[in-house]
């Protein structure tokens, strides 16, 4: 099989298809997963029959049911249509899936489940109930692993790893990443959970980002290069556990740190990274840490306004330049 070019959405679908073919315990649950607005699970029921389960509009219910199925021999991939809807399912994810094994004393109690969640602001006016970025909410819970890939290669490799993992994984996807194209290798491969990737090497400043914002960070870095600033851009890929080593190594080299994310600033992913660097790498810094994040706002529900509070490449560019 030759290397394939495909979109992020196609890569996710292919990962699901291949995992379902190799392991009959893998099942798909969620709202409208047979036709599927994201196309990620579309038509898989034609190949896998009753292992693709259209669920009622019951995020808490089917997420909890996924936990029950995971405990007793299945490996469910549960789709929650938007980040926003995870708050309905929060108990099933954060109180049940995350804690079940521990509370039962470990041993044979395992919860091999993946919660796939689409989200992010999409310029469509979908607003504050369909456009939030809530990944930071879920990095707070021990027992969970949290992933947020930026490209097709990682999307496929990480989803496969997540499905094969014996722990609950919250797998965030960004709506605007779905059409992004990339090359994925021939045959089966996986990407390890917990490993960040340097997307662009540079010596002057470290920009830590992930998901769709990562692409904005790369754009900013290219512009900065024209002005003589070489930015190193790190794609976190996994948000829990965070690849502390990769971040510290880069900051040691560049002495400057900017974080960039689409979620809001207070208690965000950038706050965690800033805290890690302040605790373990303050001596490397020669300037304050800058966090680029969403404004303290509610995402406006209009196509005209919904990007106004979401960080853009220019915001990252400005934040970096303030350090020089």
């Amino acid at each position: 099989m030759a290397a394939r070019e495909m979109t992020y959405a196609e890569a996710l679908r292919e990962a699901l298809r291949e995992e379902m073919a190799r392991d009959e315990r893998v099942i798909i649950m969620g709202e409208d997963v047979k036709i599927n607005v994201w196309t990620v699970t579309r038509d898989l029921h034609k190949e896998f029959g009753d292992r693709v389960i259209n669920c009622p509009l019951s995020e808490s219910g089917f997420s909890g049911a996924g936990v029950g199925a995971a405990l007793t021999g299945m490996r469910p991939v549960v789709e929650i249509m938007y980040h926003d809807f995870t708050l309905y399912a929060a108990d099933s994810i954060a109180n049940q899936a995350a804690k079940y094994r521990y509370m039962c004393g470990g041993g044979d109690f395992k919860v091999p489940i993946v919660f796939r969640v689409a989200g992010g602001g999409s310029s469509g006016g979908s607003g504050c109930h369909h456009g939030q970025s809530l990944e930071a909410t879920f990095i707070h819970f021990p027992g969970l692993k949290v992933i947020f890939p930026s490209n097709p290669y990682d999307a496929m490799g990480l989803l496969k790893t997540a499905i094969r993992d014996n722990n609950p994984v919250v797998f965030f996807e960004h709506k605007l990443c779905y059409p992004i194209k990339g090359v994925v290798p021939a045959g089966d491969y996986t990407v390890p959970i917990g490993k960040a990737e340097v997307r662009r090497e540079g010596k002057d400043v470290t920009i830590v980002s992930y998901a769709y914002t990562l692409h904005k960070a790369l754009k900013a870095a290219n512009q900065l290069a024209e002005e003589g600033i070489e930015a190193e851009v790190i794609d976190l890929r996994t948000l829990r556990p965070i690849d502390t080593e990769c971040i510290l190594k880069s900051v040691q080299k560049t002495s400057k740190l900017v974080t960039a994310e689409e979620g809001t600033k207070m208690g965000g992913v950038g706050a965690e990274i800033a805290a890690i660097v302040a605790e373990e790498g303050l001596q490397y810094l020669d300037a304050p840490i800058k966090r680029v994040a969403a404004a303290e706002w509610i995402i406006a529900s209009s196509a005209y306004a919904d990007q106004m509070g979401i960080p853009q490449a220019d915001d990252i560019l400005k934040a970096v330049k303030e350090l020089f």
């Binding site: 089917f62 909890g64 049911a65 405990l71 004393g105």
Partner: protein, 323 residues
């Protein structure tokens, strides 16, 4: 008297007595200063014990917070149960679960701390049984208080849509914490709500072990035959209140006369008298069961007290599955 085998009836009686002695022992331990959150089973022994007596060993139990009947009834050794309640490393959850009792081999799937969180989980266990083409069933307990949670609605609908092999047992003991359910619950018979999900319902006398066994057995047979879930509401009463906190605080929210009236319906006494009436057992035989239960629970106390606490290293383990 129905056609339930003698061995089964005597097992039910024995387990109800063991549960009562265990429950009393926990009260004494709490009074002695040992910190255990006991939601006493006193007065509610019949349904939990009779229901679990109708299960096969490979069937699942999704327990709830009230009492320990589902654990003892499913075969948990009281010394392992008590050790867990006392936070000892010899407990069924290695001292990490406390009241959240679970046992993989006994298929006790973990007692949730969040009310009704386990209703969708039970539906999911049922889904998994169906997908694996197994023949097991799930017995899922909850109380009248939990019946008002949104997860009841979502979980019941899922179980019904999937025709999941789940038997829902709502023990209606009239109170949630210290609030009478007449203030919080729109119907007198919670089982009425099952109709909204197309789930067949049964209302039973929750203090009648024999009625409980028969109703649950029928529902289990139905689930095992692939016909889907059943909702059983057991009308009962918690003699000792919510926790040790209000064990003697009768007048605060419930009249003493009400408690006295329910004391007369004591399910353990009722089964004892029933068994003697049909000459299935003599008073002496039943007394022997009681005596054995006391000895067993004394031993359990000794075992639990002498058991070591887990180390900090043990306590911090198992947040993730490393394999």
């Amino acid at each position: 008297m129905p056609a339930i085998e003698k061995d089964t009836l005597l097992k039910i009686y024995s387990n109800m007595v063991r549960l009562r002695v265990f429950d009393d022992k926990v009260n004494l331990l709490v009074e002695s200063g040992i910190r255990i959150t006991q939601h006493s089973t006193r007065g509610q022994e019949a349904t939990q014990i009779a229901a679990t007596a109708a299960l096969e060993p490979t069937d699942y139990v999704m327990p709830y917070h009230r009492g320990w009947g589902w654990a003892i009834g499913k075969g948990m050794d009281p010394k392992i149960l008590l050790s867990e309640l006392m936070g000892k490393g010899t407990g069924c959850c290695a001292g990490k679960g406390g009241v959240h009792i679970a046992d993989w081999k006994l298929r006790i799937m973990g007692r949730p701390g969040v009310q009704a969180a386990h209703i969708p989980i039970a539906a999911g266990v049922g889904l998994s049984i169906k997908l694996r083409k197994a023949k097991d069933v799930v017995l899922c307990f909850f109380g009248d208080g939990a019946s008002n949670e949104g997860n009841i609605h979502e979980g019941m609908n899922l179980a019904a849509v999937w025709k999941a092999p789940v038997v829902f047992i709502c023990e209606n003991n009239l109170y949630a914490l210290f609030t009478p359910n007449i203030e919080t619950t729109s119907v007198q018979d919670i089982a009425d709500r099952a109709q909204g999900y197309g789930i067949p319902r049964a209302i039973i006398d929750g203090n009648d072990a024999i009625a409980g066994y028969e109703a649950v057995k029928q529902a289990i047979d139905r689930a095992r035959a692939g016909l889907g879930p059943t909702f059983i509401e057991a009308k009962t009463y918690r003699i000792h209140g919510h926790t040790a906190m209000d064990r003697f605080h009768l007048g605060g929210y419930r009249p003493k006369e009400e408690v006295d009236e329910w004391e007369k319906k004591d399910p353990v006494k009722r089964l004892r008298e029933g068994l003697m009436e049909i000459r299935m057992a003599t008073a002496q035989e039943l007394d022997e069961i009681g005596q054995k239960a006391k000895e067993e629970i004394e031993e359990a106390e000794k075992f639990a007290k002498e058991s070591p606490y887990p180390t900090r290293e043990d306590i911090l383990r198992d947040v993730y599955c490393e394999a």
